[in-house]
C-alpha cells in the first residue's frame, strides 16, 4: 500500500507540478490537489504504465454520474491506491 501510494504521489507530483509534501493519502485529486480532467489523463497514463494495469476511468465516471459512487471512492488517493492494488491483484489471478 505504501509503495503504491509513493509511486502514485511521485507521478502526480511530477506530472502536475505539485509539491510532493502536499500530496497525502487523504488528498482528493480534484478537490484538494486541483488536478483537472486533462491532467488526470496524464496521471492515468503514467499509473497504467507504472503498474501494468488499465484504470477503468470510464466506468468510474459513469458510476459517479449515475450516483452509484462518490468521487471520494476513486479520487481520494488512499482509495485510489486501494483500487490500484485490487487491479494489480486481479491481473495476477487473471487467466493467461
Amino acid at each position: 500500500m505504501s509503495s503504491t501510494f509513493d509511486t502514485v504521489a511521485n507521478i502526480i507530483s511530477e506530472t502536475c507540478d505539485i509539491e510532493r509534501a502536499k500530496i497525502t493519502p487523504q488528498s482528493h485529486a480534484i478537490d484538494d490537489l486541483g488536478i483537472d480532467s486533462l491532467d488526470f489523463l496524464d496521471v492515468a497514463f503514467a499509473i497504467d504504465k507504472a503498474f501494468g494495469i488499465k484504470l477503468p476511468l470510464e466506468q468510474w465516471t459513469q458510476e459517479v454520474n449515475d450516483g452509484k459512487a462518490t468521487t471520494e471512492q476513486y479520487f481520494v488517493l488512499g482509495n485510489l491506491c486501494a483500487r490500484i492494488d485490487e487491479l494489480i491483484a486481479a491481473k495476477g489471478t487473471a487467466p493467461a
Binding site: 486533462l38 489523463l41 496524464d42 492515468a44 488499465k54 484504470l55 477503468p56 476511468l57 470510464e58 466506468q59
Partner: protein
C-alpha cells in the same frame, strides 16, 4: 490535403491493427490563402498544421482500433519537434503508432517524413468518446471512403 476543409491527409497507405500502426500520405497544396500570410513571398506549411496532420493520422488509427465505435478528439501534444521547413507541393509520409490504449483515452507517437527525411514528430493524446450523433459518424465514414480507409481490416482482430 484540402486545407479549406481541414482534411489534411489524402489517403491511408497502410493500416496494421495487429501492430497498432498506420501510414498515410499527404501532399501539401501548391497554392492556398494560408501561404499568402505564412509567409508573404516565402510560403511555408504552418507547424500547427503538421501537428494536426499527425493527429488526423493517429485519429484514423484509433477509429480503426475501436471499429468506428469511438471518436478520438485531440487533447494534448507533447514533445513536438518541427525539424525542417515544409513547402507547397511536397509529399509527406505520415506514420503513427499506438503507445497506450487507456480507459477513454489513448496516446500515440507520430512522425512525418519528406523524401525520407524527418520533418516532425510528437506524442499525442486523445479523448475517446462515443460519436455525438449518427450523422457525425456517417460523415466520418464518408471521409474514410475518400481517403481509402481499408474497411476490410475491421473484420479482423
Amino acid at each position: 490535403m484540402r486545407l479549406e476543409y481541414f482534411l489534411l491527409i489524402d489517403r491511408i497507405v497502410e493500416l496494421k491493427l495487429d501492430d497498432h500502426t498506420i501510414r498515410t500520405e499527404a501532399t501539401v497544396p501548391t497554392s492556398s490563402t494560408i501561404f499568402e500570410g505564412h509567409f508573404p513571398g516565402h510560403p511555408l506549411m504552418p507547424g500547427v498544421l503538421l501537428i494536426e496532420t499527425m493527429a488526423q493520422t493517429s485519429g484514423w488509427l484509433l477509429i480503426a482500433m475501436h471499429k468506428f465505435a469511438r471518436m478520438p478528439f485531440f487533447a494534448a501534444v507533447k514533445e513536438a519537434k518541427l525539424r525542417t521547413f515544409v513547402t507547397p507541393g511536397q509529399v509527406l509520409a505520415v506514420s503513427a503508432k499506438l503507445v497506450h490504449d487507456g480507459s477513454g483515452f489513448a496516446v500515440t507517437k507520430a512522425e512525418i517524413k519528406c523524401e525520407g527525411k524527418p520533418v516532425c514528430n510528437a506524442e499525442l493524446t486523445f479523448r475517446l468518446v462515443e460519436f455525438p450523433n449518427p450523422s457525425f459518424r456517417a460523415s466520418m465514414e464518408n471521409v474514410a471512403a475518400e481517403i481509402a480507409f481499408p474497411m476490410e481490416v475491421l473484420a479482423h482482430g
